[in-house]
Subunit: 355 residues, 4 copies
């Protein structure tokens, strides 16, 4: 008899989720004689037994669509003991043999814990985060779409910044890791890139280089900053002043969504150069996935169906080099992959020009 497989998507939405779902169903039905059911709104749907059918016909046209046809939520089923029970009983009641859980550190972490607690709760995880900061895989889908949107936006800002002789500060996603700011900034020809990984000194890392650019006659400048970039409170010569003025938390983080505006104000004050800021926000995560993300998601989906067919559990799909394959889930799933030194070097190199 065909194994019955539930699929759910959890956490923030991301271009490519539908491509994973479609590919898993295609491979599962055509190659492995699996049967699928969609669980709506992530873990919440498992707790509430909220499901939809998932046949070949249901998934045939969804590849180019952003978001997730299964919808999503941030419900975490392992926070309360009763939810753990409801999740496990939901799995049984729905007659599932397997669950494919597509999500980020929270979703995969919960899947891993549930499986650890009850080995009948068989799970295959598919890693997802638009921020590209999951340790278990080289690249996550959705990231390529996000940086292309951000890069094209930055491309457009060059002409308006140049026409007005302005500095333009662009705030991009990335609370704990600077992948989006790094790659969108580099590919968008940004002059200065500030990442969460490298706490910055507002004078030496930002205003000083901008002042020199202005003195040397550069017509305009583009600054790209991660939302999670933080001040180096020890090194910063003006740290104490700066700290009093704005709302920083204990780690030197500016409150969410605000750093772009604050930097723009500081630049105008300190460098005397007209400055504007833009926050790309939700524009970075919507819409149809790029070819890279459609293909990677498709590979992830096929590999997830393969893993189910092989009877694996407690694994997640991973890209390593050119290969997509299952690896064992561990507690390290929740480790953040930050931008390493050899990538930070690129940001320094293209900024160094301005010093």
């Amino acid at each position: 008899m065909a194994k019955k497989v539930g699929i759910l998507t959890g956490g923030g939405d991301c271009p490519g989720l539908n491509a994973v779902i479609r590919a898993a169903v295609y491979s599962g039905v055509i190659e492995h004689d699996l049967e699928f059911v969609g669980i709506k709104y992530g873990w919440r749907g498992l707790l509430e037994r909220n499901t939809v059918p998932l046949t070949l016909e249901d998934v045939r046209k969804i590849l180019p669509e952003g978001g997730t046809i299964l919808r999503t939520s941030r419900t975490n089923p392992i926070k309360k003991a009763e939810d753990i029970d409801r999740a496990l009983s939901g799995f049984k009641e729905l007659g599932l043999d397997y669950l494919i859980a597509i999500g980020g550190e929270d979703t995969l972490g919960a899947a891993y814990r549930l499986w650890r607690g009850d080995k009948n709760f068989k799970v295959v995880g598919v890693p997802k985060t638009i921020d590209n900061d999951l340790s278990g895989t080289d690249v996550t889908f959705g990231f390529d779409t996000a940086i292309n949107i951000a890069m094209k936006g930055i491309d457009r800002l060059h002409t308006t910044a140049r026409s007005h002789n302005r500095v333009m500060v662009v705030e991009l996603m990335g609370r704990h890791a600077g992948w989006i700011a790094l790659e969108a900034g580099l590919t968008g020809s940004a002059d200065i890139i500030l990442l969460p990984e490298v706490p910055f000194d507002i004078e030496n890392d930002l205003c000083g280089p901008l002042r020199k650019m202005k003195e040397r006659g550069r017509e305009y400048a583009i600054v790209v900053v991660s939302e999670g970039a933080k001040l180096d409170v020890e090194r910063d010569s003006d740290g104490s002043y700066f700290l009093q003025e704005i709302d920083l938390d204990e780690f030197g983080h500016v409150r969410l969504g605000g750093i772009g505006k604050i930097l723009a104000d500081e630049i105008e004050d300190r460098v005397d150069w007209e400055t504007r800021h833009v926050v790309f926000g939700h524009l970075q995560r919507g819409g149809s996935p790029t070819a890279f993300d459609r293909f990677l998601s498709t590979r992830y989906g096929v590999a997830a169906a393969d893993a189910v067919a092989e009877g694996l559990s407690g694994v997640m799909i991973s890209l390593r080099g050119t290969e997509v394959k299952p690896i064992e889930m561990t507690d390290e799933i929740k480790e953040i992959k930050t931008v390493p030194e050899n990538f930070r070097r690129y940001a320094r190199l293209f900024t160094a020009r301005n010093e």
Copy 2:
């Protein structure tokens, strides 16, 4: 001997400025034996005698570029008597027979006043505003590019809003006229559109319809609002409360750049529906112009060269129906063209669905 023509671009930058410059130079040099000089940074360049050559070769490749190769500024030469003198003497010193002034109400208003004061200061105006709110012409270039960028952004927000069951509030440009919000909102399938022309009641025009949508099972909603949309302080049942909470000016305007966030907060409070906001800001004015804007700008540029060749002055180029032609400038240049009733109807119609 060839007439010598100066060209300047003033006010906010706008996709299509380079196309006007290129077309005026092409038509002027090839068809009318004119000679051109570029005046940098708008009126400031005339006051400071800051110029660049403008030959066919200089403009050959600039059509697809956003912004303006002549750069721009908001310098207004008629605010001080001494600047008026410097502008008029600059015109003479540079040996100009004509000036083509490309800009919005301020730039054209200044050009008109200078010419009225000294009929030797011969000017041809080319209307420019990304907001499409100039009375003297059916459409201004740059507007089509802006609404396409905004529409594509809204298109992308649908998938993320749907995946998360959210309301998404999109704040677009338009301080005094709602053209961008109207056309980007309509073409982006927005559920509710708020324009500066129609002061809104936060309960009846926004939260009430959203509540009904939610009750009827709609998964998500898109709200588009002009930055200049204002509260109907008389009609609004909660006006007094609302007024105390936020920073409104005497006309009911929310402070610039802030209305999107305020509405998002109100919606979450009153409707109990998760809501996010995005401010498109400068993304709307940069980048390569659309085909419509490249073609309209080209027609404007050719018509400006024609007007110079015919010896006209005190005119501006205008699109009327399918025809591009010079019309006399008057003091009414500064009148804002707001969204008229027959266009507001479209916003009501597609919103009405939600009531």
Copy 3:
């Protein structure tokens, strides 16, 4: 009782058809108490009584989709007497009070003739052609999308042509009128544009100017040609030779789809300049409509519902200046609107640079 209105789409598909359908249904249901039924595959669906429901819910999400949810065909119901009878009886059997026919000269011509023959067959036409060559309206929807796609394609070809020092010949749609080649060519910075309206001499209008460009050191050239561009067989010095070589019809037309390749071969032979050609073909008509097309289509749809509500028949919707309104259909519907002299001038102007 609510009037019952059928809607059909006929002829080649075109971005914006769904927007017309949606807007007509929205306005009809919400503002005018009309009821709608979709007729599938154009006139064929009327002959075969092939229909689908069209409620607000059916059309809510279709605005950004290219093509037509009603599908289309080239079936013409007035070619055979029996089809005329089947069309008229279909109208009655389906209980229709009105028909909104969206299509080009054939579709509208048939609607007009059926109505002329039987005044109970009440029709409102909505003009559609991607070629923009219908006389009854200033602009048709779909055209803007087509020229943007073509323009962006041409933009891309510049970099490859320049890198290789090549001539690139781009063949665009336009059998009888050159609107697409004119506007995509102009906005794509083409060096030479050949239209059906101006029969060309292969030496004087094409190879001669290219030879001069090459001699003057231009690195590359872009030639844009309508598929329907034709040889001036009287003027062309090499006409007799050229005529023997290639397959021309009696009017000097090259067989469909072939002129781009033929011109590329001739250029390599005569100018000794490496040349490649690209035929954009069906890429020009698919996909999501631009903002201009979505808005124009929406206005057409609303105006069609208005016309039905007013009890008009034998009319078509038309854009005149900034106004969208019904005009009477006449036999002149079938007249082609070719590119007039004041628009051809633009092509000459930007080409003249090369002479």
Copy 4:
């Protein structure tokens, strides 16, 4: 004293070439005290001593531009003994210490042979092919841009195919390897994908599946075919017939540029389903690179400067997993990397649905 490094680009142009040049110059000048000179038109420029300066300022703005600022040619300097001498003497005369050669199998092969013949001719190669078929690296730049362009084009064709109930045949680049057809076809939701690696039987692999799709009620179909896809002349039941009709070479290849049309004709004949074809051609290789290609090219350029600084020669830059690093060049550079079985599986899987 600073080492002097020449850079050249050879073979077909490709998005990302300018990004490599810029990054090599940035890293070389800022981090390694190198000095650069640009060699124009590939190897031809070395033979003819045709060079341009390459300072930081020369490369500052070129990142988003398609093509190559150094231009390119297909000149191969190792075909004639005298050219080998001219290349070696050119290297000396220009005072070069190093050459960075960016190109495909021909360019790199020539660089390798010249260095093998004279170890003073120090070279670092950077692999380039839009077809992604070079063995020495996981991915080549330009490929991601090409598949995104192709995928978006295919996306557009879906709506027009569906509206008309048609089969659409899309011919993509790929003479010897099917990477572009595979990835653009998969990500463009193609129904059938034909690659050079898997000779096809026109009945069993194409017309049969299409006939079944039609019988099952599918409204339309998308077929993607590599320009180099070839007939399985042994297996094909109609091979002998088919061979007589069309122009195949000894390996079963259809003549370049023609397979899309031929398949479209065959499908109409055999399946009785209206079919159109489109050849994307040069549209696939022009224009601004995607984020992926800009970033990969930047990494290649930095790694090339690093290799020069380290004194390496006879190496080429390679992406292996997430690492970009130099590897030794060998005669195997010229080996084509075809689509392997685990990737072909994807094409079969999504096609299998149709059988």
